[in-house]
């Protein structure tokens, strides 16, 4: 008994010894981003490497705000991400439900195609998508162009489909016998039971939208409509690049996500695991 717990302890120790350097490698750039965001530009480029934060954060942020109206860009990013997440969860759960519950001709073909699109890198899609949205539909610089094209999320569809397929069919049979209409079965039984999966999916989608750079950059060049990553990107081209300001912006972009993830990581991981295994 005693030796067993001891070997367990040794295993844990070894595991931590192996993982700690990895964690440090992963965290170090984040830490340096934070450190740089608190330094004046001459400090960032000084030859001594400083590992501790300084006091220039507010100054940096003021420069940033003057250059790009960063607060507005943050607000736009948040709004876009929230709208995108809500719409996308709605759409993917409806599509997932249809693919899980109804047998129709060509169903497995549809699933195979959706699965196939996951393997396509965005780089392959982005040019035709841009041409379609900007030239054919003439939607460049609109909110619709920013939000709608990425809405159809094949990973989300399969995620939700998996979650619905795992629910016992007898549950829906019981509701059918009771005369509950199909859309109410979806709304009142299937969706509430899929809540953990929807939560996990929401985080993934919110993050995807929050981090999205290429598509908003291409489709949306109007200064008043820039999302935060795009706004930050515009700074690089200026003659005098305010690296401290960029780092302050990067910290503001990263911090909320980091906190959300730390608080929600338990739900997040169990939700993903549920979608994957159960």
């Amino acid at each position: 008994m005693k030796s067993k717990s001891r070997t367990l302890m040794m295993q844990r120790l070894a595991l931590h010894a192996a993982l700690t350097p990895l964690a440090i490698i992963w965290l170090f750039p984040l830490w340096m981003m934070f450190v740089f965001s608190t330094m004046p530009d001459y400090g960032i480029f000084s030859p001594d490497i400083v590992l501790w934060p300084s006091t220039n954060f507010v100054e940096n942020f003021k420069n940033l705000q003057a250059d790009t109206n960063f607060l507005r860009a943050m607000f736009i990013s948040i709004t876009v991400a929230v709208i995108y997440t809500v719409l996308s969860v709605m759409l993917t759960s409806m599509a997932g439900w249809a693919l899980a519950r109804y047998r129709f001709a060509g169903r497995s073909m549809v699933i195979a195609i959706i699965l196939g699109t996951i393997t396509l890198p965005f780089a392959v899609v982005v040019i035709p998508q841009f041409i379609m949205v900007a030239r054919e539909f003439k939607l460049a610089n609109t909110w619709v162009a920013l939000i709608v094209p990425p809405l159809f999320n094949s990973l989300g569809v399969l995620f939700m489909r998996q979650s619905f397929s795992m629910m016992p069919t007898e549950l829906f049979d019981a509701a059918r016998v009771e005369g509950v209409k199909e859309w109410r079965i979806f709304l009142h039984i299937a969706l509430p039971l899929a809540r953990p999966t929807m939560a996990a999916l929401s985080i993934i989608l919110f993050l995807a939208s929050w981090n999205n750079y290429l598509w908003p950059l291409l489709i949306n060049s109007r200064p008043g409509m820039m999302t935060a990553p795009v706004a930050l990107g515009t700074l690089i081209g200026l003659t005098k690049v305010s690296w401290g300001g960029i780092m302050a912006g990067a910290v503001l972009l990263t911090a909320p996500i980091l906190f959300v993830f730390i608080f929600l990581q338990r739900h997040f991981i169990s939700g993903i695991a549920a979608g994957a295994i159960k």
């Binding site: 016992p168 007898e170 049979d173 019981a174 059918r176 016998v177 009771e178």
Partner: protein
């Protein structure tokens, strides 16, 4: 309330036929049990009656109306599932009222029905819990409650007790029986457990591989099974089947000899023509052996194990490698001998041909 009529009901999944033309008449208020081994099509038949599966061919009538194209909710049926199928995210009170509420039933009427069902099943105190906070037996009770609330013409049960432990199963069995007495509604009950079938049913429908083998009252099936399958399925412990051979035909019937011990001969009245020398099965229930000398012939078996249950004993024995079970009500002590001589009485023996058809 309503009776049911099934006429030539066939079910195919793709090209694969699983129910091969079922004909069945169920009277109003009857308690009918579909019984048969797992995979024989009981659930499929029940789900067709419920409307959860389409009927490939034939007609199903409930209360004299063909319901092939009627939605499940319009059939005036209620169904209790093996997995209970309670909505896990709602309190059980809401589970009971949900269906009615979704269909716009007046609130007072819904509440009255829910209270009524809770009274019948004595589940008042638990109403505000979620299904996950209840034991299996309690969940099953609420699943039945949800069926009662619908005030159906026909109750359908699909193996409702098979997830419960043995003791609770007996208790719920009695309760379902009582419920049937109290409500007087037609009930169709699916199980693979012959004890449940025997104890609950007014009428048993024995199914095998998608075919109805026999329909009858429990004791009818016990006394008069149509074939070897039904004979083996009804009764516990199972009927013994001993290989035998037709020796010849006389005025009082055919004479058979056991293959295990050709000296054991028995003459049975058989009406159908059987060729001398053909192989047959002699069927005798464990409880129908008699004391040595008291029957028409005796046989000697080797005892493997004896189980003494107090009120009776079961002897597990073999006669040249053919196993058999013998019930000995009076023997409280197995004795030390490892062989046993018992009597067979022709009047209690069945005879089946090589295909399992009943000869006697």
């Amino acid at each position: 309330m309503a009776g049911l009529t099934l006429t030539n009901v066939i079910k195919r999944f793709g090209a694969y036929e699983v129910v091969h033309g079922a004909n069945l008449e169920i009277a109003d208020g009857e308690f009918v049990v579909f019984v048969g081994p797992s995979g024989c099509g009981k659930s499929t038949l029940l789900r067709m009656i419920a409307g959860l599966e389409d009927v490939s061919e034939g007609t199903i009538e409930i209360g004299g109306i063909a319901v092939n194209d009627v939605e499940p909710s319009e059939r005036r049926i209620a169904m209790v599932f093996q997995s209970y199928a309670l909505y896990p995210h709602m309190t059980v009170r809401r589970n009971l009222s949900f269906g009615l509420q979704m269909n716009g039933n007046p609130k007072e009427d819904t509440e009255r029905r829910v209270a009524h069902a809770a009274n019948i099943l004595q589940i008042n105190e638990l109403m505000d819990r979620r299904p996950g906070q209840l034991s299996g037996g309690q969940r099953q009770r609420f699943a039945i409650g949800r069926a009662i609330v619908r005030e159906p013409q026909v109750f359908l049960f699909d193996e409702p007790l098979s997830n419960l432990d043995a003791e609770l199963r007996v208790q719920m069995r009695v309760e379902i029986s009582r419920l049937h007495k109290q409500l007087g509604t037609t009930m169709i009950y699916v199980t693979h457990d012959q004890t449940e079938a025997m104890t609950l049913a007014d009428k048993i429908v024995v199914l095998r591989a998608g075919r109805i083998e026999q329909v009858g009252a429990p004791l009818e099936l016990y006394d008069n099974p149509a074939n070897q399958f039904v004979a083996g399925f009804v009764g516990s412990p199972k009927m013994n089947f001993l290989k035998a051979r037709i020796e010849g035909k006389g005025a009082s019937g055919v004479t058979v000899s056991l293959r295990a011990d050709p000296r054991v001969k028995l003459t049975l009245p058989v009406s159908s023509a059987v060729a001398a020398g053909s192989q047959v099965m002699l069927g005798v229930r464990p409880e129908h052996f008699v004391n040595a000398g008291a029957g028409d012939t005796d046989l000697t078996v080797r005892i493997d194990v004896a189980e003494h249950l107090g009120h009776t004993s079961y002897v597990y024995a073999t006669i040249s490698d053919e196993p058999l079970i013998i019930e000995r009500p009076e023997s409280r002590h197995g004795g030390d001998s490892d062989s046993l001589t018992i009597g067979l009485s022709a009047a209690r023996c069945f005879l089946f041909d090589a295909e399992g058809s009943r000869l006697r």
